[in-house]
Amino acid sequence: MNARAERFLNHAILALFAVIAVFPMIGIVAQAIQLPHADFSAFGTAWREGHFAAYLRNSVIVTAVTVVVAAVFSIMAGYALGTMRFRGSAALFLLFLAGLTIPTEAIVVPLYFDLRSAGLDNSYAGLILPQVAMSVAFGTFWMRAYFRSVPRSLLEAARIDGASSWTTLWRVLVPIGRPAILTMLLLTTMWTWNEFLLPLVIINSDEGLRTAPLGLSFFQGSHKTDYSLLMAGALIIAAPVVIVYVFLQRQFIAGMLSGAVKE
């Protein structure tokens, strides 16, 4: 086989798998707008009947608070573990690292019973706090790797200039660490936005607090086979993450693929 033919074949294989990868997504869109009629009324119906305005608002609130709190905590913990030498730091890092593999399934049942006794089920706090905990495990791991890559001379220079460790962190390291922080923000946003099991269990009676994915599951319960409505709903909840992904795919991919690797 000559090089030209080989080259053509390789691109054809890639194109085939690219088509397979988007096919169900194209199907979602085609069904939702009822091609070839290009009728957008399903979105309006789904939006109203599925109460997606309220559910998206809940998702935005839960995701925003979770991501911001987790980012601040992760940056601080990653700074400590990446740049400071203190007794027990190695053990502490391993403790956070262990959290990377803990599946939601292993903690969701005890969380339900303990949050219920504490009166935190059916509340934003009951959704946010456990997701901050899950995000912090990855965030600390991720930010530690970034802070370790910062040249020590930079830290020493800041210290000689009289900057406290707090000032050094927020005025020197965080501004130059924006790419690493952006990746962390994107990933925790996606995970929190897409999380389904936790809201399903924690938001068990207050319909007004349902997040978007949870809303979709109830919407499916009441419109079992009305695919154009269901697809419109699916599109509404998936679109925010997909749009951000299309613009920042490099950060998404790099982050998700490195999470399971180094050290």
């Binding site: 080989e6 390789n10 691109h11 890639l14 798998f17 690219a18 990868a21 988007v22 096919f23 169900p24 997504m25 979602i28 601040v72 905590f73 601080m76 913990a77 400590a80 573990l81 740049t83 400071m84 030498r85 203190f86 007794r87 027990g88 403790l95 956070f96 262990a98 959290g99 990377l100 593999t101 803990i102 599946p103 399934e105 292993a106 903690i107 969701v108 049942v109 005890p110 969380l111 019973f113 303990d114 456990p130 905990a133 912090v136 460790s165 897409n194 389904f196 099991l197 269990v201 979709l216 599951s217 499916q220 269901l230 697809m231 699916a234 993450v241 997909v242 991919i253 998700m256 693929l257």
Partner: protein, 319 residues
Amino acid sequence: MTTVARRKTPKAGRAASDRRAARPGSGPPGEPGRIGWLYALPALLVYGAFLLWPLARGAQFSLYHWDGLGEATWAGLSNYTATWTDPSLRGAFGHLLVLIVFYSVLPCCIAFVLVAAMSRTKIRGLTFFRTVLFLPQVVAMVAVAVAWRWVYSADGPVNTVLGWLHAIGLPDWRHGWFGDFTFALPAVGVVGTWVGIGLAMVLFLAGVQKIPRELYEAARIDGAGAVREFFAVTLPGLRRELAVALTLTSIMAIRNFDLIYMATSGGPGDATKVPAYEVYNRTFNTGEVGLGCAIGVTLAVLAFAVTAGIRRLVEGKDA
């Protein structure tokens, strides 16, 4: 261990003070030391209270029989033995094994062979292909489930194509896939293959680019054919990526709640029950909280073992 050894053999003079300087907690003057704990504290508190503590509580619950309402009675390890003596649960773990093949082994093998076949040429438009192939990873699983329920539906695309094949004389292969006792589990598995294959291809494509061109040239000068080249250059060069892909995809199979809940609810019958679904089902539908927790703990151990095991496999060969 090394610090203990150091303390046992103290040496006088400068050497000792050098060693003290390298000890954690006493860096150069002005370097922050113990304050590190303060920085780590907020993260540690939330992490401890809402991840580690529930994990420990889950382990505790798993030792009791409890319906979630009344008195709990001591169960010892019987909830754990039930995970392989209860036929329905044994079935669920069996389904997990089948799904690991579909979610992890199949996508990695297919992607590996495809990418290896491409390793001889430069790919144009790599960014575009990467973006598209990776897309299934970022779509909420609940939305993926809705999309695939349509793909498999009575007059969805799969049955439509099978209908055409039937029209040209082939047997009628049309099914209600997610509702069929024989085909529901493989149908779920195919969704996993679809999600995983893009991830594996993206990883391997990136890895192949990093293998030095000279290795391929050297192999070709030595007269190696495509197959020899695959085993001598591509496979060793992609070992790390292979490990990452296997880890990520098998963890995906283990944490397979959203898709099962949305697409089949474990049905028909027990046909697509998996441990991740049984954690929820046993706790909230059949009132076996202890058993639900035991399955959850088992999944956590399994996820940890898979991650550690695959990594050891790769690093062990490196050493």
